[in-house]
Every structure is written in structure tokens, then in C-alpha cells.
């Protein structure tokens, strides 16, 4: 990775110098390169625009439609055809995998489908881009794009970005076309055309090189189609360049994934394997496929000399052949890639679901944050239970009489809470807060509020642990107390928290609806109030009858308040974590 970066950085000044020389020396090249630059910035705007719509249709579609290979392929195809960016779909897939929202096989299916979706770009360029005067659309799109971009509403801004993106893409194509037409007057590039397998390898390599430099197969396709439309390259070489573009896009993805997590690497390699298989088939059967394109072209009304449309058809057809060849093996790929890139052993002190790729996608970031908060909650139940000298497996979800479990659990669990906090809570807490703060930047107000409530819940969990530490000392001492009143009172306190933990455990695993869950939480809160009032009465009785010393009585009062505080905080957290519907959540607010 470091070597790749070093090569990249050392070549960059050379690339800039070469580019400057080319722009200075050739006016024609300047127009074509400007067209590419405008096209690329258009793609960036379009991708940003669709990202602003995260939290809605696109993620919902991608999440729910990947349970079988066919649906995953179709979803990848449709979503990429709409957003015109397979890299955006890749980012979403990697973040979904990070948040464990879909399986690797599902993500591979989507990525393969996305490859077919990118072929719609060639159709758009070959039809809209070349058959009509495209600048007539580009300029109004840019104007509306700018107006909407300055609106305060995020959705309007999203539309603005998409309009700007489309406008720039159209404008870029128009510049490329004009550039090639002007260039043709002075230099006929088609004289460099090559035939045979050697020629094929040269042009495939050029296609790869162009895509690696441009970092976008769509831009390369635009370049190829406009060059073909102006007869600067011959049809067969255009096909070879298109195959090269397909391979080039995966090289870019593989290089990008070197710094990514295991999921990113798995997906990039799946993409690479797909494209290598597809390209190999296309090279091996180049002439039969070209012949097939002509046959289908005649059937669907593409003229014999309409090479740009034939190229678009070839691009679709060879990707379709790739899909049909690789799709049946997605599950095998899943197994192979999961073994090849094994995930690191799960360290409970570190975040499991917070994927950097997802931080810019609000809906996924919210799901990831919620899962991580549940992870933090689970860690906290361990430390809180142990601070009460209780093991979770003895009472959580066991349906046993908790008071009896408490009475029989007299063995002190000597947990160093400070050490536990530093090892298993602090880092995770920090990871969540940092991620939440970064994620908020890309969110609308409503989502920001949700993240804010997640942060509060996080703080509540951590504070509960700190309070449990205060409680632990007196509870441990009470277990060996010879005063049965003291031991009895502390057992009541242990029982109160254990009942809350058990109640939350039961409701989160019950699969009941939100109303039932909230009602259960409310009933637990009522029980808590009742416990509190009974405890105060008992305490009065103990003091009045001098069953305990005054200093012990005040400790009991303080510890009772601690128990109430921990329970209340955990119940508030559970409202946020296990009640999905925002309106119903609000009913539980005091």
C-alpha cells in the first residue's frame, strides 16, 4: 500500500507537467480534456446529489431487495441505472456490510447487477448525447441546478446537485464531441487503428489506462463514444477500449480497497473477478459477440452504420454475458472471499458497526449508531450485573424468581470497574461519540436530533456504570454483613436493578410491537416508583427501631437513590433502542 502511494505521489507532478504541456501545445486536446474534466465534475455532482437523498428510497431499496441473487442483481442494475454511479452503490454496499444489514452474497449480487447498470451510461451518451443538440439541455439544467443548490432545504440542494451533475455531464460530452471534430481536421487518429489480437491487447490496455487515469469508466465510455461518433477510432478498437474500461474500473476499485476494511476488500475482489471473467469471455469471443450485436441491432432497428449505438449494445451484451456467467457462483464467491479476508476477531471494546464509508450516508449511519449503542448497552449490563455480584446467565430471561436468585448469590464478584471501564467502555464510548458527531454533519435536522438522543443515551449508559461503581463497595460489604436487616435491604436494591435489566432483556427479545414494549417499560417505571416508596418506608422503620446505625441508614438512602438513577437511565435508553416508531417513543417522554 505504501509503495503504491509512493508511486502515485511521485508520478503526480509528472502527470501535471504532461497535462500542462498538452494543453499548451494543442488547442484541440485542450477542448477534449476540458470536456473530460467537465464530465467528471458532473459525475461528482450527481453522486453528491444522490447522497443527499440518503435516508430514503435508495437505501431502503438496496436493503430490502437482496435476499436472493436475482433480486440483488436486479436491484444493482436498477439503482445504478438511476444514480449512474457504481462507485456510490459500492460505498453503500460496503457500509451495509459493515452494519451487518445484508449478506456478502447479496452485496456481490448487487455489485454484479451494478456493472450491468453502468452500461446504461453508454446508451444515454449514444442516444441523448449524440443524437440531439445536447447543450440546449445542459445550460438550463445548470441554471436550475445552481438556483436549487442555494436553497436552504437539503432535498432541493440534492435536486440542485443532480441537475448540475447532468448539466455538466451533457456539457462535457458536447465539448468532447466538438474537440474530436476539430481534431479530425488536423489529425486523423483512426490511422492508428490496429487489428488482430495484438491490436486488441493494445486497445484494451489503452482503455484500462484511460480509466485508471480518469477514475471513471463512464468518462472513458463518453470519450470512446464521442471519438467513435467523429470517426476518430474504428468500431472494433472502440469495443476493445470498452473492454479495457471495464477492467480499468476494477483496478481503481481494488487500489481504493487496499486501505479499506475486510468487507471493502471482499467486495472489490468480487468486482475484480467479475470484470476479469467478463473481459476474458469478451476477448475470447470478440468476433462472435460483435456478430451477435449486428444481428440483434438489425432486430431492434439499429442501422448498420450506427456504430455508437452498436457499441452501447455491445457494452450491454458483454456485461450481460458476464452476469450470466458469474451470478450462479455468488454463494461460492461469498465463501471463498470470507475465508480469504477473514474479519479480525471481535473485540468487544471496539466499535463493530461504525464503518467510515457509511458516515456520509445518514440512514445507514443511524442504523450503525443504534447497533453500536446496543453493543455498549450489552457491555454495560455485564459490568452493572457484576457490580451487584450477579451473573447475567442466572437471571436474564430465565423467568425465575429474581429475589431468590439474589438471595442465593452471596459470592462476591470482585470486578475492578475502573479497569473494566478503561478496557471495554471508554474506547467504544469515544468511537460512538466521534462517529455520531461526524455523521451529524451530513444530516437533516430530524436525523441530527436522533443522533443527539443517541449521544445522550450513550452518556446515560456510561453514567450508569459510574454510579454502579459507587454502589459496588457497599453491596459487596453487605453480602458478608452479620446484620440481616442490612443484607436484606441491599438484596432489595440488587433485586430492583436486576428486575429492570431482566425486564429490558425480555422486551427486546419478545418481538412484540412498539405499544407493548413501551407499556412494559412504563410498567417497569411504575414498579420502580413503588419499590422506591416501599424502600423509604422500610428505611424509616429500620431507623426508628434502631435496627441499623445512622451512618448505615444514610448509606442505604444514598445507595437507594443510586439504584433509582441507574434503573431510570437504563429504562430511558431502552425506549430509544427498542421502540422504533418516533411517535410512540414520544408517548414515553415525561
Amino acid at each position: 500500500m505504501i509503495l503504491v502511494q509512493k508511486i502515485k505521489y511521485s508520478l503526480y507532478p509528472l502527470f501535471l507537467l504532461g497535462l500542462a504541456y498538452l494543453l499548451f501545445m494543442s488547442n484541440d486536446a485542450k477542448i477534449i480534456i476540458a470536456g473530460i474534466a467537465i464530465f467528471l465534475i458532473g459525475m461528482v455532482f450527481m453522486e453528491d446529489g444522490f447522497k443527499r437523498f440518503s435516508g430514503g428510497f435508495l437505501e431502503a431499496l438496496l436493503r430490502k431487495s437482496t435476499d436472493n441473487t436475482f433480486k440483488a442483481l436486479l436491484t444493482g442494475f436498477i439503482s445504478t441505472s438511476i444514480v449512474q454511479s457504481s462507485s456510490l452503490i459500492s460505498i453503500i454496499m460496503i457500509s451495509f456490510l459493515g452494519a451487518e444489514l445484508i449478506t456478502l452474497a447479496g452485496a456481490i449480487g448487487v455489485i454484479i447487477g451494478a456493472n450491468l447498470g453502468t452500461t446504461t451510461t453508454a446508451w444515454i451518451i449514444a442516444t441523448l448525447g449524440l443524437k440531439i443538440k445536447i447543450t440546449q439541455f445542459a445550460l438550463p439544467l445548470l441554471i436550475f441546478g445552481v438556483v436549487l443548490r442555494f436553497h436552504s432545504n437539503k432535498s432541493y440542494q440534492g435536486f440542485g446537485d443532480i441537475f448540475l451533475g447532468l448539466g455538466f455531464v451533457f456539457l462535457g460530452i458536447s465539448y468532447m464531441k466538438d474537440g474530436f471534430e476539430v481534431l479530425r481536421a488536423g489529425l486523423d487518429l483512426s490511422q492508428f487503428s490496429m487489428s488482430g489480437y495484438f491490436g486488441a491487447l493494445v486497445y484494451i490496455f489503452l482503455g484500462v489506462l484511460a480509466t485508471v487515469i480518469l477514475q471513471s469508466s463512464s468518462a472513458t465510455m463518453a470519450l470512446i463514444i464521442t471519438a467513435l461518433a467523429t470517426n476518430q477510432i474504428v468500431y472494433i478498437n472502440a469495443i476493445e477500449l470498452a473492454i479495457g474500461a471495464n477492467i480499468g474500473t476494477t483496478i481503481t476499485a481494488v487500489l481504493g480497497s487496499l486501505s479499506s476494511n475486510a468487507n471493502g476488500k471482499r467486495l472489490a475482489l468480487a468486482h475484480f473477478i467479475f470484470n476479469i471473467v467478463t473481459a476474458s469471455i469478451a476477448i475470447a469471443f470478440l468476433h462472435p459477440i460483435s456478430h451477435l450485436v449486428q444481428l440483434i441491432g438489425v432486430e431492434i432497428g439499429i442501422a448498420d452504420d450506427d456504430y455508437t449505438m452498436q457499441l452501447a449494445l455491445f457494452h450491454t451484451l458483454f456485461n450481460l454475458i458476464g452476469v450470466l456467467s458469474v451470478a450462479p457462483f455468488t454463494k461460492t464467491l461469498d465463501r471463498f472471499l470470507s475465508q480469504w479476508f477473514a474479519s479480525k476477531a471481535k473485540d468487544i471494546s471496539r466499535a463493530r458497526f461504525l464503518d467510515n464509508e457509511a458516515v456520509a450516508l445518514p440512514e445507514i449511519a443511524l442504523v450503525a449508531l443504534k447497533k453500536e449503542l446496543i453493543h455498549l448497552y450489552d457491555n454495560s449490563t455485564e459490568v452493572i450485573s457484576h457490580s451487584l455480584s450477579l451473573h447475567r446467565h442466572t437471571f436474564l430471561g430465565m423467568g425465575t424468581d429474581i429475589s431468590k436468585v439474589v438471595e442465593s448469590s452471596l459470592h462476591v464478584i470482585d470486578l475492578d470497574i475502573d479497569d473494566y471501564y478503561n478496557r471495554k467502555i471508554k474506547i467504544l464510548y469515544g468511537d460512538i461519540i466521534q462517529y455520531a458527531t461526524i455523521a451529524q454533519e451530513n444530516m437533516v435536522e430530524e436525523d441530527k436530533d436522533r443522533v443527539y438522543s443517541f449521544k445522550i443515551a450513550c452518556r446515560d449508559i456510561v453514567e450508569s456504570i459510574k454510579i454502579a461503581k459507587e454502589l459496588q463497595k457497599n453491596i459487596n460489604r453487605s453480602l458478608h454483613s452479620k446484620n440481616e436487616h442490612i443484607q436484606g435491604e441491599y438484596n432489595h436494591l440488587r433485586e430492583e436493578i436486576a428486575k429492570v435489566l431482566d425486564g429490558i432483556y425480555t422486551l427486546r427479545n419478545s418481538k412484540r410491537d412498539d405499544f407493548d414494549n413501551l407499556a412494559n417499560i412504563k410498567l417497569l417505571e411504575d414498579d420502580l416508583e413503588q419499590f422506591s416508596s416501599q424502600r423509604n418506608k422500610r428505611l424509616d422503620n429500620l431507623i426508628r427501631n434502631a435496627y441499623v446505625e445512622t451512618s448505615t441508614a444514610t448509606s442505604l438512602m444514598n445507595d437507594g437513590a443510586f439504584v433509582y438513577e441507574i434503573s431510570k437511565k437504563l429504562l430511558n435508553v431502552s425506549k430509544l433502542l427498542w421502540i422504533e416508531h418516533r411517535e410512540i417513543q414520544k408517548l414515553g417522554e415525561e
Binding site: 436553497h151 432545504n153 432535498s155 410491537d513 405499544f515 407493548d516 413501551l518 407499556a519 412504563k522 410498567l523 411504575d526 416508531h581 411517535e583 410512540i584 408517548l587
Partner: protein, 70 residues
């Protein structure tokens, strides 16, 4: 029509649309809650133990409270 006015029109269209959607969701929630309350009332009329009756009574109180708030 001035451009800013056109924007306001479009914005209020989207906001009204959102408001209608929220109202519909609320109505659905009210119906679901009402159904739940009814089924508890029905169960309370059946022959059940005192402990179960008390449990249902508490649950009914909580859900009725939600209904008032919704």
C-alpha cells in the same frame, strides 16, 4: 409570479404533503392502539385469575394513558 413566490408555493406543497402523511400515520397508530385496548377489555371479561386481571388492568391503564397523549 415572482421567483421567490413560486418557491414558497412549491415548498408549502411539499410541507402540506408531509403534514397529510403525518396525519395519516397518526390515524393508523390510533387505530392500532384502540384495537389493542379493545382486546385487553375483552380478555378481562373472560374468566381469568386475579393476578392476570390485575396485570391486564395495569396494562389497560397505561395504554389508555397513551391514547390520551396520542
Amino acid at each position: 409570479m415572482k421567483f421567490s413566490k413560486l418557491f414558497q408555493e412549491v415548498e408549502s406543497f411539499f410541507e402540506n404533503d408531509q403534514q397529510n402523511e403525518d396525519d395519516l400515520k397518526k390515524e393508523e397508530l390510533q387505530k392500532a392502539l384502540e384495537k389493542k385496548i379493545e382486546s385487553i377489555r375483552k380478555e378481562m371479561k373472560d374468566k381469568i385469575s386475579d393476578a392476570r386481571h390485575l396485570k391486564l388492568k395495569k396494562r389497560l391503564e397505561v395504554l389508555s394513558e397513551f391514547k390520551k397523549k396520542l
